[in-house]
């Protein structure tokens, strides 16, 4: 079952790679089937551990195990896929995009369930590669942006590999069992605090770059800003899940002392990043960059929640991850719809569009409000819990991040005004059509998801209570932290 989650999209991608015609017909049903599989995994289908590829000195390379956190994130990524495909519908390179997206999502599933670090690492690298590939499909085909994305992620993940290699050798040298399995690595005696600090930093470099945590964020603006909107949707909504999951499943449990030591800095960096990215969004030259930095700002808020190492905050951060995936679909979806109408997203080319496309305008406002963290919509529970939890741990950085509440209203409303309000931009064709049925249906689906997450977040929050006992012990009081 778990293997199918990875192999199914890869197989479909392979099939599509060999054939030129069927992509529009196959892509969405395949994505929906993937979602169905993920839902089955989440809702208690029998999912035995899947082990294969036993290698000497490395353990089972293909070692997948179900967990409620992994399954929740898997459903999130799988749910994002059909949206991305449908928003990419009119893309010239739809087939290429579909293949890249399927490869990416399949690899993501691998990162969520892998219990062997090398397996996780390989999947993680495939995510990075297919992400870079996706940046080059559609959009501006900016090789520099793709390269920068790769440089950052690969450079970072090499450090991650070094750190875990050290842990692996250390545990192997002490008890003679050389394996990369999570249980072994986590059970090994903790390195002394100084070393743990450096090792944690190294792991962080590999994982936090994916979020991206300030100051490792610099790839994100060009990458999200130059890629086609559906690609940015998957990168900022789904690919980031791997980084956050890696932090909570690998970095923090393997190096609890390092995490504890780093936590105050992590909160501070997250707070700076939240504000910094919001400022960049305020001065963004076009709509895509704006969405890119907004997304980075939210991810830094996630980092605050994770590093608070506090019950409410971690729940909030994980919730925000899922909510942000929905938001990314909405934001980049709206941008994709604009681009499908020949509106490239530069501020000068927009303005007063509400008059032509009131429905699109209403939905744009809806997702902007979600992004502003309006209570009742998806982002709010996550933002609130992250910040409220962080306040109990370190109030000052959390207060800095809370200023983002204020800044975001300027950021979003100014962008909205530039696109939708005021007199109609003379450059916009008179006949610019409002939403078509397919687009409207997609936005309604996302909108209802937003409302559901915002008004009744409890079912999703409950999922995170099922974290592995080890996670809970580490995160929620196994190491006393502040309180």
């Amino acid at each position: 079952m778990l293997s199918a989650l990875i192999l199914w999209p890869w197989l479909v991608a392979l099939w599509l790679a060999g054939r030129a015609q069927d992509s529009h017909r196959l892509a969405v049903p395949a994505a929906l089937f993937e979602l169905l599989l993920a839902l089955a995994v989440l809702f208690g289908a029998d999912t035995p551990d899947s082990r294969a590829l036993h290698l000497p000195l490395l353990g089972y390379l293909w070692y997948l195990q179900n967990s409620s956190l992994g399954a929740t994130l898997a459903v999130t990524a799988a749910a994002l896929l059909p949206f991305a495909l449908l928003f990419a519908w009119r893309l010239e390179e739809f087939r290429g995009f579909t293949i890249a997206a399927l490869v990416l999502v399949g690899a993501l599933m691998g990162t969520f369930f892998s219990q062997n670090f090398l397996g996780f690492y390989l999947f993680y690298e495939i995510v990075a590669l297919s992400g870079a590939w996706m940046i080059l499909i559609g959009g501006d085909r900016d090789r520099a942006a793709a390269l920068r994305f790769l440089l950052y992620t690969v450079g970072g993940s090499l450090l991650l590999l070094v750190a875990v290699l050290y842990l692996y050798l250390r545990s192997g040298n002490t008890n003679g069992i050389y394996t990369f399995s999570w249980t072994h690595l986590a059970a090994a005696a903790a390195p002394d605090p100084d070393l743990a600090w450096w090792l944690f930093l190294a792991m962080l470099a590999g994982l936090a770059v994916k979020l991206p945590l300030f100051p490792l964020h610099s790839w994100a603006g060009p990458a999200y800003g130059r890629a086609a909107p559906p690609a940015s949707m998957l990168l900022s909504g789904a690919a980031v899940l791997a980084g956050a999951y890696g932090l909570i499943h690998w970095a923090i449990p393997l190096l609890p002392l390092g995490a504890l030591h780093f936590a105050p800095y992590g909160i501070l960096l997250g707070a700076i990043g939240t504000l910094y990215a919001a400022f960049l969004a305020l001065d963004a030259p076009n709509l895509r960059r704006f969405a890119a930095w907004v997304s980075v700002s939210h991810m830094n808020l996630v980092a605050i929640g994770l590093f608070a190492l506090q019950e409410q905050a971690v729940h909030g951060a994980l919730f925000l991850l899922v909510a942000h995936a929905v938001l990314a679909a909405g934001l980049f979806g709206v941008i994709a719809i604009l681009e499908a109408r020949g509106l490239p997203g530069h501020w000068d080319a927009l303005g007063g569009l509400f008059r032509q496309t009131p429905q699109l305008g209403a939905w744009m406002l809806f997702f902007f409000l979600t992004g502003m963290g309006l209570p009742g919509l998806a982002n709010f529970p996550g933002e609130f819990l992250s910040l409220a939890g962080a306040f109990r741990v370190s109030p000052w950085p959390a207060a800095i991040a809370a200023l983002g509440i204020l800044l975001s209203v300027v950021v979003f409303l100014r962008a909205y005004e530039r696109v939708m309000l005021g007199p109609l931009n003379p450059g916009i064709a008179r006949g610019t059509g409002d939403l078509a049925g397919r687009e409207l249906a997609l936005l309604w689906a996302l909108g209802l998801l937003c409302l559901w997450l915002g008004l009744d977040p409890q079912p999703l929050l409950g999922q995170f209570q099922g974290l592995l006992p080890v996670h809970s012990a580490v995160l929620f009081g196994g190491v006393a932290h502040g309180h």
Binding site: L158, L161, F279, L280, A362, I405, L406, G422
Partner: protein, 619 residues
């Protein structure tokens, strides 16, 4: 338990939902009627509460659990007590009257469906705000009404300045929302609960932790921003860009009073911090004074009313600060009636004069529109607090008189009294300029019954509702304060000769003010009016200074971060450095030639090999 309380906010929210989902198929006429029906249904439910539970209302409805993580629980929980019963009555009933008035007033406008969607959503949000039993749900209502205020101020979005005014309103109030949110975080960090009742119980009778000072200041800033108190009043005059009905509902009767409501609700929090209440009183008195002085010199009919709203809200904060929240709530109720009336009537006046807001271009409307004139006069009398016959006399003068008893009461009293003088002056200046004098005929405008009924109801209320509570010692009904006594405690009231002196002075000041208003109108007609005093007309230049400095700092900062830090430091500096380093390190050989993927694979493989060797050797 009363598990039907959710119906009260539920009806308008349902209306908004139906409008959003099916409004296109229903058509505008149907949407309009449905929208007006919803607050009426809420009012009916509220009427039932009045009939059955009026003496001691205490109803709770826990609808569902919003969030629960560990020790933190936030319910969607609604509560009705005496204070919130007053608030929901205003929100639902004034909401209904304004929906009714809008039917004709905005007929044929562009974006009618959008208007009713936000109006319904607003009423729903306001009802949630006033009924919330925990701070988080209150915050939900708080933000919802803020959003609706934004959308409705920017209703006529095709003009840039309207969209800008809407954003300004949202941004300035969100300064307060942010501090309010931080205050909530602090309270949660300290007390681990956001349930208002439990929170207040934990605060009272405990030694005051230092965090409480910070939390109460932050929450107070939120309340001040929402209620447009100095110096966060900047957004309210500009928000007059929206339709007059919106100003009537949101920027007079309901949303702007949310800050007052919050400070009444959280009074024990403020009371626990020494000196806090007095600061609130001083800020309120000062705002009442400041805004009244600005009102004297305005020529835009809606701006006069906007500054009067700021000023009247100042009186309500003054009442809260001097420990007389019951009087503050009383004035809130009275103000909601007469100010909603004035704004709606002003809307009609503006329509008559073809969207010209300048009162210097108006005059003599009393013969053309007798009903409009009499109802407007009722509202103006209440605003000016004409002795004995207007509701404002019973609510506002009671606050002014009670402020004498507070510590340093003379200062508060002097500010409040000077404000009252100016209030009477600008109120009657407005009335004389618009309705008296030489007739300047506008366009023919026929008020339909949908407009007349709300005006008449509110006019009657602006006169009569004050009789709920006569001044202390007078024969007549004393209903209001005793009714609220159980919840809000005793209200300080002057008695004996002191009361008599204060009441006489108050009444005399109002009469003098009316006379000054008459003079001011005459001067204005002769072209030498108060509007020529730039300092007052530009509201002491506070707004100009703020606009001059704050936005450039924010936008300039953003530009600096993008060009100076992100581009120069992160992109060129760090990334360039890495690239250089790699090239010098020899990896550049693999780097330079091939395609993207092969580069990567080579790079990764080489690095891996190197690392493995190093590590294996090292251990």
């Amino acid at each position: 338990m009363a598990d039907w309380l959710w119906l009260i906010p539920g009806f308008p929210l349902l209306g908004a939902l139906i409008n959003a989902g099916f409004g296109q198929w229903l058509g505008v006429p149907m949407v309009k009627r449905l929208a007006a029906l919803m607050p009426l249904l809420s009012s009916v439910v509220i009427l039932v509460i009045w009939l059955e539970h009026a003496t001691h209302p205490e109803l709770v409805d826990r609808v569902w659990t919003w969030m629960a993580v560990g020790s933190f629980v936030a319910e969607i929980g609604l509560r009705i007590d005496a204070v919130s019963l007053v608030m929901v009555s205003i929100a639902a009933f004034a909401g209904f009257l304004i929906h009714l008035y809008s039917q004709q007033f905005l007929a044929g406008d562009y974006g009618e469906r959008r208007y009713y969607f936000y109006l319904n959503l607003f009423v729903g949000g306001m009802l949630v705000l006033t009924m919330a039993d925990n701070l988080l749900l209150l915050y939900l209502g708080w933000e919802t009404v803020g959003l609706c205020s934004y959308a409705l101020v920017a209703h006529w979005y095709r003009q840039k300045k309207n969209a800008w005014a809407g954003r300004k309103a949202f941004v300035v109030t969100r300064i307060g929302d942010t501090t309010f949110a931080i205050g909530i975080f602090l309270l949660f960090a300290q007390y681990h609960t956001l349930d208002i009742h439990r929170l207040l119980q934990m605060i009272s009778g405990q030694p005051v932790p230092s965090v409480l000072l910070a939390a109460s200041v932050l929450v107070l800033i939120g309340a001040l921003a929402k209620s447009a108190q100095f110096p966060l009043h900047l957004w309210l005059p500009d928000s007059m860009a929206g339709p007059s009905t919106v100003s009537a509902l949101i920027h007079a009767a309901t949303m702007v009073t949310a800050g007052v409501y919050l400070s009444i609700r959280l009074l024990p929090l403020f009371a626990a911090v020494p000196g806090m209440l007095w600061v609130i009183a001083l800020l309120g008195a000062w705002t009442a004074f400041f805004a009244a002085s600005c009102g004297l010199a305005q020529v835009d009919i809606k701006r006069v009313l906007a500054y009067s709203t700021i000023s009247q809200l100042g009186y309500m904060f003054l009442a809260v600060g001097i420990g007389a929240p019951a009087l503050g709530l009383f004035h809130l109720l009275v103000h909601a009636c007469f100010k909603a009336l004035l704004f709606m009537a002003a809307g009609a006046v503006i329509s008559i004069y073809a969207e010209d807001h300048d009162i210097r271009h108006m005059g003599g409307l009393k013969n053309q529109q007798p009903l409009l004139r009499w109802t407007f006069l009722a509202g103006i009398s209440a605003l000016a607090a004409v002795p004995l016959i207007s509701a404002g006399f019973y609510s506002k003068d009671a606050i002014i008189d009670a402020s004498w008893l507070a510590p340093h009461g003379a200062l508060l009293y002097a500010l409040a009294l000077a404000a009252a003088l100016m209030t009477a002056a600008y109120a009657f200046r407005l009335y004389f300029l618009v309705f008296e004098g030489e007739p300047r005929v506008g366009e023919p405008y026929q008020l339909g019954w949908g407009m007349k009924i709300p005006l008449l109801i509110l006019a009657v209320a602006s006169i009569g509702i004050g009789w709920l509570q006569f001044p202390p010692g007078w024969p007549g009904p004393h209903l209001w304060l005793p009714w609220l006594r159980a919840e809000l405690g005793p209200t300080p009231e002057p008695s004996g000769n002191l009361a008599l002196v204060l009441e006489t002075v108050g009444a005399a000041v109002t009469l003098v003010g009316i006379w000054l208003g008459y003079l001011a109108a005459r001067w204005e007609r002769q072209g030498r009016g108060l509007s020529r005093i730039g300092f007052l007309a530009h509201a002491w230049y506070v707004d100009a200074v703020a606009l001059r400095f704050l936005p450039p700092v924010v936008y300039g900062g953003a530009r600096f971060l993008r060009l100076g830090v992100e581009h120069l430091l992160f992109r060129s500096g760090i990334l360039g450095g890495i690239r250089e380093g790699l090239q010098w390190g020899g990896v550049g050989l693999v780097w330079g030639e091939n395609g993207l993927v092969s580069r990567y694979v080579a790079f990764m493989g080489f690095g891996l090999l190197l690392l493995l060797l190093l590590l294996w050797g090292g251990l």
